[in-house]
């Protein structure tokens, strides 16, 4: 069983967000980049566990990004992935990323395509479903448990108000969420081995993007906090009822 794990290069969670070029680009100055947590802690770690228990033979990382993503890709290789593929392009949107993944997965006969449930920078939650649509593969979203038996995947995933357990024959696409695996720290051996693992660079497809980002804006923060005395909670209740009108 071959597993393709799509990873995004994202600013770390404590980054102070800023924009440049007249608010049309995300400013990378001073920003630490990491693998999108959902891709790393859940999709990648679970794929590695499946390989460690003999259920998968290959775990390949797939990334759409320019050469400055390489350090992030190496982190994924340090965790234990066998190899990586980087599509040399700056992605305009989720569909573009999905197109690249779909093409590579199909041409290279991957059985399982794992993505994180969303990225922490664009929060689209779209790539997994799009790959499913492009390849006509089944797609299971928000998976919290993944097991494989031969060519059948058993997946637990979130639905409205509950959890559903499904079975599906490969090939399929799964978006991964909390619960599927635990974050791992790469060890020294992994870091050393990562240096010589292959990162194949491929060119992107050339269709015009379906969507583009025109501009960004920072969200206005809540400006002032109204403090209420701890001995006067009735005032808070009154404010919530009469001013905020939420109760």
């Amino acid at each position: 069983m071959k597993i393709l794990v799509a990873i995004s290069n994202v600013p770390d969670t404590t980054t102070k967000i800023a924009f440049s070029d007249n608010d049309t680009k995300f400013s990378t100055q001073g920003v630490q980049f990491i693998i999108n947590p959902y891709d790393e802690w859940y999709a990648l770690v679970r794929a590695l566990e499946l390989k460690e228990t003999g259920k998968a033979t290959v775990v390949t990382l797939f990334h759409v990004g320019l050469a400055d993503s390489e350090a992030t890709i190496r982190k994924g290789l340090a965790l234990g992935a066998d190899d990586a593929v980087r599509v040399n392009a700056e992605s305009p949107d989720s569909f573009f990323v999905a197109e690249q993944i779909a093409k590579y997965a199909k041409e290279n006969a991957y059985d399982l395509i794992l993505v994180g449930k969303e990225t922490i920078n664009y929060n689209g939650s779209s790539v997994g479903g799009m790959i499913g649509g492009l390849l006509d593969f089944p797609f299971v979203s928000l998976a919290t448990k993944l097991d494989v038996n031969g060519n059948t995947a058993t997946v637990e995933h979130d639905i409205d108000g509950g959890i559903q357990v499904v079975e599906c024959a490969t090939p399929l696409v799964i978006s991964c969420s909390k619960g599927m695996a635990e974050q791992r720290i790469p060890n020294m051996r992994g870091i050393m081995a990562a240096r010589t693992k292959p990162i194949t660079v491929v060119e992107a497809t050339t269709d015009a993007p379906l969507t583009n980002i025109k501009s960004f804006a920072l969200t206005a923060g809540r400006t002032t906090c109204k403090y209420i005395d701890a001995n006067n909670v009735e005032e808070l209740v009154s404010l919530l009822h009469n001013e905020a009108k939420v109760i």
């Binding site: 969670t13 949107d93 499913g132 909390k178 969200t219 209740v237 939420v246």
Partner: protein
Amino acid sequence: MSVLVYIEIAKGKVKKASLEATNYAAQIASQLGTSATAIAFNADAAQAEEIGKAGAKKVLVVKGDQYKNNDAVYLGVAIEQAAKAEGAKVIITSFDITGKSLAPRLSAKLKAGLVAGAVDYPTVNGNVLEVKKNVFSGKATAIYTINSDVKIISLMPNSFPVKLTDNKAEVVDFAVDLGGITSKIVIKETKSTDTAGMIPLPEAELVVSAGRGLKGPENWGIIEDLAKAIGATTACSRPVADMHWRPHHEHVGQTGIAIRPNLYIAIGISGAIQHLAGVNGSKTIVVINTDKEAPFFKSADYGIIGDAFEVVPKLTEAIKKLKASN
């Protein structure tokens, strides 16, 4: 050239998120000089009527058992056919669990640009729609241009109003040719999350949340009492879920779930950036913490600096008094 909106019915009711989507679809339809058509699966007359009141000029009712599990494989085929039949150039869904599977699949099948999680009405710029959505986990917004011929917008739940009028929609049966396709996904088991009678967190409009400041799982009684008094759902911060003080489904934050309730009360939670990312979309945030330097106060609308064990029970009493007097 109509606007097509996907309706979801759950537990016998049209989902609030679908009514929001219908309102939104009707609004854009009028911007585009057309009307909104809704597509609802296994809807009855009363449900179709409500969809009309929310702004649909026409309701297409599709019947079939295959649609009962909201499998995007079947929904997608039906919506594709409906969009073609109606000449729909814009498709609206909610950015809820079904929407997160359905809208992307439709986008791929129709080569239709998708903005997922829209937080505002679009600007029409000739043949292009410009739509705003949250990015960087709510720290910023981005305006996307949708350049394709067919466009899909999925809406952030609880971000748009539901206005019901006495509009009467034309209700018609719509036959879908599934062409014998079967989804390969086999459902083995469905378990309900035990939310102890509370509205599930993703849909809750009132949330009471607590963190490490509560010192131990045995102290959660005061939180549950407050939630009960308000009619709220309980939530928690990541450390507390990781330590198994509270169930995982209560964890709100960057690596948990993001919620947008009308009211979020945070008790004994310091307000780390990762937690804020999950709740910054809340309309009103109340922070109760003994530490006046807790970063959460900078993102709060109302704050009480005090000991949760004293403040929370008093708050519960005050809420009960309010409810009793109304």
